[in-house]
Amino acid sequence: MRRERRPHLLRGLALTLAGLLVVAVVSACSSAVGEANGGGSASGPSEGGVLRVGAGSDLIPASVFTNSSDVANTLVGTVYESLVDYPTDSLEPQPRLATSWQQSDDGLSLTLQLRDDVTFHSGRDLTSEDVEFSIRTWADPAWTVQLQRTAAAITGFDTSDPHAITLTFAHPLSNVFDLLDMLPIIDSESIDQLREGTAYVGTGPFVFESWTPSSKVVLTRNEDYWGEQPLLDGVEIDVVTDPQAQASQLRSGQLDVALGLTDRDRESFEKDDAYSVTEFKGAENAIYLGADLANPDLREVKLRQAIAYALDRQRIVDEVFRGAGTPANLPWPESSPAYDARANQTYAYDAAKAEELVSQLGDQPTLPLAYPAGNGNFEAVAQVVQANLEAVGIETKLEPQEYSQFIKQLIGGTFGGLWILEHSYAQYTPSTLTVSAYPFNADKNASHFSSPAYQKHADGAWQRDSGTDRGAVRIYRQLNQDLLDNLFLIEIAVTPPRVATTAKVHDIGLSKRNELDLGRAYLAD
């Protein structure tokens, strides 16, 4: 009897199924989840392990120093070092690559002594010429960094001593230590690779190994670090743009740290003992409502005052930021020398007063209210703001805009109405905000606001030798009054950064620059 041939198709099918079965069996032998969750078995500070950090936005080499992405912030904070470090709760510079400094009496020069035991990851010794190169790079407009104007105001460099540098200023700079805290000391020999994103050579506790765009950055421990050796073997910064994917990966043990969670997810992790949510003071952001004074209706200050009174800031903090934040009328966090608790209450929520102001003005046309689309927080804040304003008789039309288009409008000053965005840098010397941050810039801003008094106070705060003495605080009071009287930016809330980790992550920090500090971080159960 002839044995029937099985059809080719059926054989192919059977082979495919068998292949899948083999993969499944082999997979079952070694678990990806088990391997991902490995490490960190000790109970105290211990060496070893790779910390996996989930970052919401990838690196852009041309903008690596603009503090604008989670990957760049973590990379810069771990690979590079600055001359001084600010503590998170004050503006008293502490030694880092500079050991001491001396400012001239006229405030026009500053001499810094440098450590003599520091080498770049390439093995080359750090010298004063590297400091000059770094400041000159920072002053180059092409890098579009914060404090470019301050770096450009440094006009002289004396590098005759390889371990000391004297900087000469065009005028006294109250925020020069802000620059020295933010400025990473970079290696001149690898600047071209830095521009291309192929090499980041610093002096910090971790060494850059690789960057796979849209995927990950890999760092390893700097075995020749001049300071205390880091405990971690390395750091892997994974680009996980979707907040829900970050939450899932943190829950499944694939990530140890999640930087880009929504506030609701952070709240749920906070209630779970297997995770930890840390709130960091000293690197606050502030969310604000901008007003474009090119719109004739918004030129009326009474309308802006009505808007300021109508905002239920506490509701926004409670509902949108899940309680993590403080309602604010001014941009400064409590640690700032410009902070004034009383002035910060000037426009406390008062719907009746807002309604009265609106009634004095008569019928108001509908105002456009723009915000960056795709960000849950901005969207939720916009909805609360719309409801608050509607309650006092001001109609708004929500205009979600794609981020690139939003920034173009911000730069061009073409909103024509209200907009919602957040800003940083208020934790530094106040002149850093009023001179460098675009929304506050006295020279040119998206609100089309100009005032000789505001310009004078902003320049006065900047062009002085101290940013924290009594004279400076007096100017800050005047600046506060300018901001409150003119309301071209209506502050909503100051929000501290919060980082969620698994319980096995210990001793991570966050610098005033909003960069993860992993120098003493370790993994332990």
Partner: protein
């Protein structure tokens, strides 16, 4: 077959040429500006002007288009504005991952469709048909971002047996066993819709075949329904299914963009999302043109396979 292929090539080239112009115009019509996104809000006008000149965006549009075409002709895909690297390297890296994901999903979809369709027509059981119909409807109706999150919740969080996303720490080659586990959830997520669509089509095609006179004759000769399906009906039902498979491949490529975002799979999806949001013109243009080229190639391939499976197609075409 060669003549058949040569006849189809010119139209494919015309499609690519028209697409290149459409893509170039389209990315520039999108509001937003690469310089603004690169420079950020605090940059000075001088800095923005310098960046604009550096990127060649101060040139007339026609000049920019011709420059791009010239680069393409020299197989120079340009440099990414944002990422900084050569576009060809970025695309090559991402394409490998996307192809691995898409082809795995396609294989899964084909296997699921073959098994389900054959089972449905061989068993011809009311309950089996109802179950398959329910599963198909669910797989087609549920959007990828829902099925993706449900799969992650089930298999990575509640039952932590598979990774929630990402790529193997040691790469794909060093540990294939680990890599397979990282690949499984995104591939299943991507395959669900395509598998269901193929199942529906193939089942119907098989049922149509089973109503043909040759099947009645075969049944009268005592040949079992199972054997008729596996030896005759399936082969005859395949040509039309291959056409649907070609279309599904395009759908899978599109769906990969979303699946890659959900499972943080480092393929072309993440790259295209970043390129579009950052107005990275060189990268967007190449990725979109590549998508068109792949789609055209797959359609061409589908026609060839169709012609190979069904000689009437190429003979008809020749006459």
């Amino acid at each position: 077959m060669t003549r058949y292929l040569l006849r189809r090539l010119p139209s494919a080239l015309v499609v690519l040429a028209v697409a290149s112009f459409g893509i170039f115009a389209l990315v520039r019509l999108v509001p937003g500006d690469p310089v603004s996104t690169l420079a950020g809000p605090d940059a000075s006008p001088e800095a923005r002007a310098a960046i604009r000149a550096d990127l060649g965006l101060d040139q007339p549009l026609l000049g920019q288009y011709l420059t791009w075409l010239g680069q393409l002709a020299r197989l120079d895909l340009g440099t990414s504005y944002r990422i900084g690297g050569q576009v060809k390297d970025l695309v090559a890296d991402g394409a490998v991952n996307t192809i691995v994901l898409t082809v795995t999903a396609l294989l899964l979809a084909v296997v699921v469709a073959l098994v389900s369709s054959v089972l449905a027509v061989v068993l011809d059981n009311r309950w089996v048909n109802a179950a398959l119909s329910f599963g198909n409807t669910l797989a087609i109706a549920l959007p990828t971002f829902v099925t993706g999150l449900v799969l992650i919740l089930l298999f990575a969080v509640v039952l932590p047996v598979l990774p929630a996303g990402g790529t193997p720490p040691d790469g794909f080659i060093a540990r294939p066993d680990i890599a397979a586990q990282y690949l499984l959830l995104p591939a299943v997520c991507l395959a669900l819709g395509a598998g269901a669509a193929l199942t529906r089509f193939l089942t119907e095609a098989l049922r149509t075949e089973l109503r043909q006179p040759y099947v009645t004759t075969a049944r009268a000769l005592g040949i079992s329904r199972r054997r008729i399906v596996l030896t005759q009906a399936l082969r005859n039902a395949l040509p039309s299914t291959v056409t649907v498979l070609g279309i599904q491949f395009g759908t899978l490529l599109g769906g990969a963009v979303l699946v890659e975002a959900i499972f943080t799979w480092p393929g072309l999806g993440g790259l295209i999302e970043e390129a579009i949001s950052g107005r990275d013109y060189p990268l967007v243009q190449v990725l979109l043109l590549l998508s068109v080229a792949v789609f055209v190639a797959v359609q061409l391939l589908t026609d060839i396979v169709h012609a190979w499976l069904d000689p009437r197609v190429r003979i008809g075409g020749a006459s």
